[in-house]
């Protein structure tokens, strides 16, 4: 019984800390997927899309969606200029990362929204995996 009560006390302390972290931690994740996610079907219907690849340089070299430009957080300053050269406020921008579970596309989209005030920017649901599955992109042989 004592072990159980001690374990419960530790769990309660951790739970309290995590609630505080949810509201106060600058990198706390959100419970809801951001409202700016877009499905592949919807993305294909959009016109004049600027595709942004938020994966690593190595992944980008291995394979990318045709016309996509690289913009990741590792080389943000360096790659942002290239993005701004091709970005147009009239066209939607869709960011993808490796899969449904990755957060890179959300982070890049969020950063572009915050730093440049771009509203028409979305994160692709399913990411690179969904593009491969749909036959829209191919990975280069290793």
């Amino acid at each position: 019984m004592k072990s159980f009560l001690e374990a419960l006390a530790l769990v309660l302390v951790a739970a309290c800390c995590s609630v505080v972290a949810y509201f106060a931690h600058p990198k706390a994740p959100s419970f809801s997927m951001d409202a700016f996610s877009i499905s592949l079907e919807a993305a294909q219907e959009a016109e004049g899309v600027l595709w942004v690849d938020a994966r690593t340089d190595e992944d980008f070299e291995r394979g990318r969606l045709e016309g996509a430009i690289l913009l990741n957080e590792e080389r943000w300053e360096e790659l942002l200029t290239g993005f701004l050269d091709v970005w147009s406020p009239d066209s939607p921008t869709i960011v993808y990362c490796s899969s449904q579970s990755c957060l890179r596309s959300h982070e890049v989209a969020e950063r572009l929204r915050e730093e440049l005030g771009i509203e028409t920017i979305y994160s692709l649901e399913g990411g690179w995996e969904s593009l491969i599955e749909a036959g829209l992109a191919e990975e280069a042989a290793q």
């Binding site: 004592k2 001690e6 374990a7 530790l10 769990v11 995590s18 931690h25 994740p29 959100s30």
Partner: protein, 138 residues
């Protein structure tokens, strides 16, 4: 024998504290790791990304300092069993999961599952030895 149990608790507690700090520095990166296991819905993964690092810290301090250690060691065993099960299922399904164990971003395809699973089993063995020594003492 008592010194062996204490040493084991301090080392294992240190590992838990280290793992907790690494995760709580960037809960979003830890969330990303949890999602690569493809087993939890998002709301559960977010809750775990916020809760697990602090639980690891509490358990780590409990083991290392001796405060509330009886509860801490059972939580430590439970958490390590859960982590091991998650790694084994990811390996069995051939997932390219990110362990996330120490806030790293190394994918299974790069690092493999063998070491993380072996490390968890070693930790379980360490905890079992420490508990056994304590029980024998009584």
């Amino acid at each position: 024998m008592r010194i062996i149990a204490w040493t084991l608790y301090v080392v294992l507690g240190g590992v838990f504290v280290w793992a907790g700090i690494a995760k709580l520095l960037d809960p979003s990166a830890f969330l990303s790791s949890i999602l690569t296991y493809e087993i939890f819905p998002r709301f559960m993964a977010v809750a775990a990304a916020l809760f697990v690092p602090y639980l690891e810290l509490c358990v780590g301090f409990s083991l290392a300092t001796g405060a509330l250690r009886r509860g801490g060691r059972w939580l430590a065993i439970g958490m390590t069993l859960v982590f091991t099960t998650l790694l084994i299922q990811a390996a069995a399904r051939g997932l390219d999961a990110d362990c996330g164990c120490f806030g790293s971003q190394s994918y299974a395809s790069e690092a493999g599952y063998t070491w993380p699973i072996a490390r968890d089993i070693l930790m379980l063995a360490g905890l079992a030895v420490a508990v056994a020594i304590e029980k024998r003492k009584k």
